[in-house]
């Protein structure tokens, strides 16, 4: 397994790499280029990088305007200030006219760490999911993040990409790995329960699967890198096969992947679904790894919920 790397780092590297291939690619930031890693692109393509200062709402409008001329703008800031502060701008200036703007939202979730609750966005997936036509990508590692960036470039329309601050393991460096917007990845097949995970929780889902196996429980693991459009076909198939679901995300249990999966299954294949995530609370200041333990965002949390889901089966 390769060294740990944050998905934001992979994002910056991908922009710099793909900048040569896609000449229409331009990058905007709001005084966070060092943190969002768009600074890597800026160094290579200074003439295609535009700092907008600490004025995110204007930045998303500028991105919208740029896109109407054929540019492919990537507008970056922290998830809190993209989906949070600029929801109206993203909804009205980008979503409603379905413009080709790519939103690179870094520092999502509680793994922001020490900066605390004001900067830990656990609501962005919920907010972005309500905008018609918005694609939401939440890569699990650096390999997936790089693929997500290129897929976003090739996709015509608005895309919200969610990246993290914390360095995480690379789990997708396999020869058969393939990224396709809207297609979940079945990482392991089981019979008793399916763990549907997104982002950094995918690695924990794989660890949880091994722990469950030791207890004689057979779990499927699905990586949902695209939260919208959701791979309904795969989720329904898994629900039918295993009869119980656990969703796992570094996001509020309200409105995120867990909600999306429940909405998908309700009325079609209503099996027990237990949601694992941030339990509708704000974060705290502490090192990211301590926070993951504090909020139970780990394999133990998934195992406990998997057993609960199985116990609810008819």
């Amino acid at each position: 397994m390769a060294d740990k790397i944050a998905t934001r780092e992979a994002y910056g590297n991908a922009l710099a790499e793909l900048g040569s291939k896609y000449e229409n690619l331009v990058v905007l930031d709001a005084d966070l280029a060092a943190a969002t890693k768009t600074g890597i692109f800026k160094k290579k393509f200074p003439e295609r990088f535009f700092d907008c200062g600490i004025a995110e709402n204007n930045m998303f409008g500028v991105a919208a305007g740029l896109s109407t001329t054929g540019k492919i703008p990537f507008a970056s800031t922290f998830a809190m200030f993209a989906a949070g502060r600029s929801f109206d701008q993203i909804r009205n200036s980008i979503g409603y006219p379905h413009l080709n703007v790519k939103i690179g939202a870094t520092h999502a979730g509680i793994t922001v760490g020490e900066d605390g609750a004001s900067h830990q966005c656990n609501e962005d997936i919920a907010l972005m999911r309500t905008i018609p036509g918005m694609v939401i990508l939440n890569p699990a590692d650096a390999v997936e993040a790089r693929c997500a960036v290129e897929a976003a470039i090739k996709h015509e329309g608005p895309v919200y990409m969610r990246f993290g601050r914390l360095a995480v393991s690379v789990i997708n460096d396999t020869p058969d790995y393939k990224f396709e917007i809207g297609k979940g990845i079945l990482l392991a097949e089981g019979t008793d329960v399916t763990i549907v995970a997104t982002g950094i929780m995918v690695e924990q889902a794989l660890i949880a699967r091994e722990m469950l196996e030791a207890d004689g429980i057979s779990a499927s693991v699905v990586n949902i890198h695209t939260i919208k459009p959701l791979d309904k076909e795969l989720i329904i198939a898994c629900a039918q096969q295993t009869g119980a679901i656990v969703t796992s995300e570094e996001h509020n249990i309200i409105g995120g992947l867990g909600s999306a999966v429940c909405e998908c299954l309700a009325g079609v294949c209503p099996v027990p679904v237990v949601r694992h995530g941030v339990e509708d609370t704000f974060g705290k200041s502490a090192p990211a790894k301590e926070l993951l333990e504090y909020y139970g965002l780990n394999a133990n949390g998934i195992v406990e919920r998997a057993k609960r889901a199985i116990s609810m089966k008819h």
Binding site: G53, A55, N58, G61, A63, G65, G70, Q89, S93
Partner: protein, 278 residues
């Protein structure tokens, strides 16, 4: 009177008639700001903008963003008279089945360069269009119209900073300074004036004009075009509801449709004005 000026005055009056008809038929909408901006729309669409209704997506065209999107009855009327769509379509404004949405929709309306309506946003989009022109060394120009009430939005000042920082001299901002907003006088609700000294402090070139004086509007556009290295703002002093006596300078006519009697009177007044412009 110069033939061109007279024609533009007549066009502005036609735009007003279309705007009032649209709002009357919709039984809702925003006549006040549409009427205050009508002379500006006429000068933009019938003189200043390098556009072709046959080729509304031409990458080299000039762009216009109506940031104060609620004034779209005036813009739709201007587009219709300019040939983007049939003038008869104005009667469908705000009706199910019509493409003329309550606020500008770039996806469904030929000639609309940017969707707008949530105040403060269109101006930023215009900045993005102007920036793209700079990146690609294109000579198209970008115009955007904001309201004076709208300038209470913080995003407006973010955009003012941005345009100045990136020296967007291909961008021209027009402020429809009619002095009224929904809750009353801008000066009473939340004073945004004076614009001139504020914009100059932000590094803009500023021209103040009577926003109903066709020659002054055209002259301001000339100045904007000739000004290099900085964006130009045109502070256009206007009368809300201009052209319909009972709507003039009445905040109540910001977002209200005339009833049958009011409509008849408005049309009589505007038709009378048209006669005098022969």
């Amino acid at each position: 009177m110069d033939n061109k000026i007279l024609k533009l005055k007549r066009t502005a009056n036609d735009i007003r008639i279309g705007a009032v008809e649209a709002v009357y038929n919709a039984k809702s909408g925003h006549p006040g700001g549409a009427l205050s901006s009508a002379d500006i729309f006429a000068c933009l669409y019938f003189s200043e903008l390098r556009i072709n209704p046959e080729s509304p997506k031409d990458p080299d065209r000039d762009r216009f963003v109506l940031s104060k999107g609620h004034s779209c009855p005036g813009l739709y009327s201007a587009l219709a008279h300019r040939g983007y769509f049939d003038v008869a379509e104005l009667k469908g404004f705000r009706h199910l089945g019509s493409f003329l949405q309550g606020h500008p929709d770039m996806k469904g309306i030929k000639g609309i360069d940017m969707s707008a309506g949530s105040l403060g946003q269109g101006f930023s989009c215009a900045c993005g269009m102007a920036l793209a022109g700079k990146i690609d060394n294109k000579d198209y120009r970008v115009y955007t119209l904001i309201g004076d009430g709208e300038s209470q939005e913080g995003q407006i000042w973010e955009a003012i900073m941005f345009a100045s920082h990136y020296k967007l001299d291909n961008l021209c901002l027009i402020i429809d300074n009619n002095g009224l907003q929904i809750d009353g006088k801008v000066a009473d609700v939340m004073n945004t004036m004076p614009y001139e000294s504020k914009l100059e402090a932000f590094g803009w070139n500023v021209v103040s004009i009577d926003g109903h004086d066709i020659e002054a509007i055209l002259g301001a556009f000339d100045t904007a075009r000739a000004t290099k290295g900085k964006s130009t703002a045109i502070v256009a002093k206007t009368i809300k509801g201009k052209g319909v006596s009972f709507m003039e300078n009445e905040a109540g006519w910001h977002g209200k449709a005339p009833n049958d009697a009011e409509y008849a009177q408005a049309m009589a007044e505007l038709n009378e004005l048209a006669k005098n412009l022969k």
